[in-house]
């Protein structure tokens, strides 16, 4: 296995001006619309958004895992691997180069382990398969490596013989993680890896992921709809809505100096278990139809701060005025961290009892 502990600075992935459309008879659905974000080495970048916000499309598109009717319509995805000689635009790789890149450099952990694992193959054969497809090793070496991988994710080696249906949900998800780490990738994309699990198991697996990341020095793109989880887990958080990034900032900045009205609304949407009971507001309404997106800011119909200018904003990310840290950017030119909390539009009230 190549040692990844060498230089540890600079971006490992740069997504620039990236767009994906789903071509349908009723017109293009602009699922990802001119999105740009960098990932640094060893960083956990959280991508948060509601269902249909384009967060999975962005991640899968960047790894070129989408099939028609999905079309990449603009942008570049530059990968700076430590094992590869020079940087490459993933969007321009040949099928052979792509095959090398996938899993070897960029691996994935899918949400539903039950569907992602093959039900008729044992854990051993699935792990050995992955290793032998991507690394040139003998069958014995691959078997050894499979056993080591199970140690890594805390599953007894005896489970190599098990089939997916014999494992609990948490264990299946651990097998998925083992599989993603099988080839020592630099980037692991995790798409809601713990959403289907109970909280106790979830916390346990997340702690393990972080530990593995520290040991093996990979970067994580963590996709979830649960902002509260990201605040605890991620270094940086990108907030996605209707195919666009609305705000990017450190976990700290997002929690204490959230700037975009949507981020503010999200923060005010989940009940917290600890501390004072807060008055919660939620966000009324639902996301726009991406076949026919409204001009300007897509959040306008649900925004408590909306004004006429909002239909003309360019939706480019600009530094938050007065932000403590660099790199805290927002797409909303009108509302900042200091603007008072989400005004609740008429007709909705918070949960009180």
């Amino acid at each position: 296995m190549t040692d990844l502990r060498e230089p540890a600075s600079g971006p490992v992935l740069e997504i620039r001006d990236f767009s994906v459309a789903y071509r349908t008879q009723a017109g293009d659905v602009r699922a990802v619309d001119h999105v740009g974000i960098d990932m640094n080495r060893g960083e956990v970048v959280g991508l948060v958004g509601e269902s249909g916000s384009g967060k999975s499309t962005l991640a899968y598109g960047a790894a070129r895992l989408l099939r028609p009717p999905a079309l990449i319509t603009s942008g570049a995805v530059i990968y700076h691997g430590r094992r590869t000689e020079r940087s490459a635009d993933i969007l321009r790789l040949t099928p052979d180069e792509l095959k090398h890149l996938r899993w070897r450099e960029i691996a994935m952990v899918f949400q539903s382990a039950m569907n992602a694992l093959n039900p008729v193959l044992s854990v051993r054969s699935q792990l050995v398969d992955v290793i032998r497809v991507h690394l040139r090793v003998s069958r014995n070496e691959a078997e050894d490596r499979a056993a080591q991988l199970l140690d890594l994710v805390g599953i007894p080696r005896a489970r190599l013989k098990s089939y997916p249906h014999e494992l609990s949900g948490g264990m299946r998800q651990r097998v998925m993680i083992a599989m993603a780490l099988a080839t020592g990738p630099e980037i692991v994309i995790m798409d809601e890896p713990t959403t289907a699990l109970d909280v106790v198991v979830q916390r346990d697996i997340l702690a393990q992921i972080v530990e593995l990341k520290e040991d093996l020095r990979f970067s994580i793109l963590f996709i979830t709809h649960d902002l509260s989880l990201l605040l605890e887990l991620a270094d940086r958080i990108a907030v996605m809505y209707a195919g666009k990034l609305l705000e990017i900032g450190s976990a700290q900045a997002i929690q204490h100096e959230a700037s975009h009205p949507y981020t503010k609304g999200l923060l005010n949407s989940f009940p917290s278990l600890r501390g004072q009971r807060r008055e919660l507001a939620g966000i009324p309404g639902s996301p726009p139809d991406l076949r026919n997106p409204p001009p300007g800011c897509p959040f306008l119909p649900r925004c408590g701060y909306g004004r006429d200018d909002c239909t003309r904003v360019s939706m480019t990310l600009a530094p938050v005025t007065g932000a403590a840290g660099l790199g805290h950017v927002t797409a909303c030119p009108f509302v900042g961290p200091g603007t008072p909390a989400h005004p609740v539009p008429a007709g909705t009230e918070g949960v009180t009892s």
């Binding site: 494992l167 278990l273 966000i283």
Partner: protein, 374 residues
């Protein structure tokens, strides 16, 4: 028992539940009682799964009781038992003080009109080939009675307005696939309300929805509870939402209720080791970067070992406490004998032999010392 005067029938229910008065009791009269309810499933020759064991609680008009537990804890089976979807193996259900016998068709119908169930997945619970009107028309007609010549239309519009699907005529002709997840769940609520129930059993009603929509749906449920004085059972795996939404929280583990108490008190000072683990595991936004710094809650035996399969509801029909294999405080007695619920305050109880170690602060706050004597 101090709360015996609250409502008829309270006493007998309370006698089996560790002598506590439900925090929901102050909301209104007693509606539905589960008394020592249990359900076994035969899983193979000579194998029995005790999905629900000796569960007792009461629902009061206008009050919300949350049933919290992980998947496989038996919480959904408990809801199905109360809804009359499954036959009880043991125990008794009483509605408005009357024992319920669902074997007779008419009694079953009458019961169903009083007690309605809302499911988790609004995609699966609505028929994709039928419109919103069709989904609501049948329960409305059943409610009006077969002889009624009254058109159902007006009633359907009223129902849609009650769940804030307005303007109603825009939604009435739509098919489920034309609605968002939140809108579909509103239709499910409207369908449940069509029978004019007094009890609403909501099985994870918001877990399938996006975070930004959940709160609005809970606020809608809250509004309906108040408006129709509904007695509500809110089943969830999210103990934080139970804190905000419920009056009383019941924590279920492996088919049993292991702790119960007023929502705020229980979530802020959990007494049972399982509840403590549950609370410690919930995402904590104030613990910024906590996982990265390795400063999460202390790793928990059983939770951390990874290789061990978590217990399903009552799968191992052992005599001891079901949580004992994962419990850091377990001792011999815990593995031998299942603890009965012990009262820790007027409205709280927990089923644990080692409460004095697990929650000394909670015990210290109790009134008098009679609860510790078993």
């Amino acid at each position: 028992m101090t709360g015996a005067g609250a409502a008829g029938g309270e006493g007998s229910a309370g006698a089996r539940t560790g002598e506590v008065r439900s925090a929901a009791a102050a909301r209104g009269p007693l509606a539905l009682e589960a008394i020592g309810v249990g359900k076994d499933f035969r899983t193979g020759p000579g194998q029995v799964l005790h999905a629900v064991r000796d569960v007792s609680f009461s629902l009061y008009r206008g009050g919300v009781v949350a049933l919290v537990g992980e998947s496989g804890s038996g919480k959904s089976t408990a809801a199905r038992l109360l809804a009359g979807q499954e036959r009880l193996t043991t125990g008794l259900i009483r509605l408005n003080g009357e024992p319920v016998d669902l074997s007779a068709r008419r009694a079953f119908r009458r019961y169903k009109s009083q007690v309605q169930l809302v499911f988790q997945d609004p995609f699966a619970s609505l028929n994709p080939v039928h419109t919103v009107r069709y989904h609501l028309e049948r329960p409305v007609r059943l409610q009006q009675g077969t002889r009624s010549r009254q058109p159902a239309g007006q009633e359907i519009v009223t129902l849609l307005e009650q769940v804030r699907l307005t303007p109603a005529d825009q939604f009435i002709g739509k098919y489920p696939h034309e609605l968002s997840g939140g809108q579909r769940q509103r239709v499910s609520f409207a369908r449940a309300l069509a029978a004019r129930p007094s009890v609403l059993l909501a099985d994870e009603p918001v877990s399938m929805l996006d975070v930004s929509i959940r709160l609005e749906m809970l606020s809608l449920l809250d509004d309906l509870r108040r408006r129709f004085q509904l007695a509500m059972l809110y089943i969830t795996h999210d103990i934080a939402s139970a804190r905000y939404f419920a009056d009383e929280v019941l924590v279920m583990y492996a088919g049993r209720i292991v702790e119960r108490g007023p929502a705020e008190e229980l979530t802020q000072r959990p007494a049972h080791p399982y509840t403590q683990l549950l609370v410690a595991s919930a995402p904590d936004p104030d613990n910024l970067g906590g996982m990265l710094r390795g400063a999460g809650p202390p790793s928990h035996p059983g939770a951390g070992s990874g290789g061990q399969r978590l217990p399903q509801a009552g799968s191992a029909a052992s005599a001891g406490c079901p949580f004992s294999p994962r419990c850091p405080l377990a001792e011999d007695r815990c593995r031998r004998e299942n603890p009965a619920p012990q009262r820790v305050s007027a409205a709280r109880s927990a089923a644990c032999w080692r409460l004095d170690v697990a929650a000394p602060d909670v015990l210290a706050g109790q009134r008098g010392g009679e609860a510790t004597a078993s």
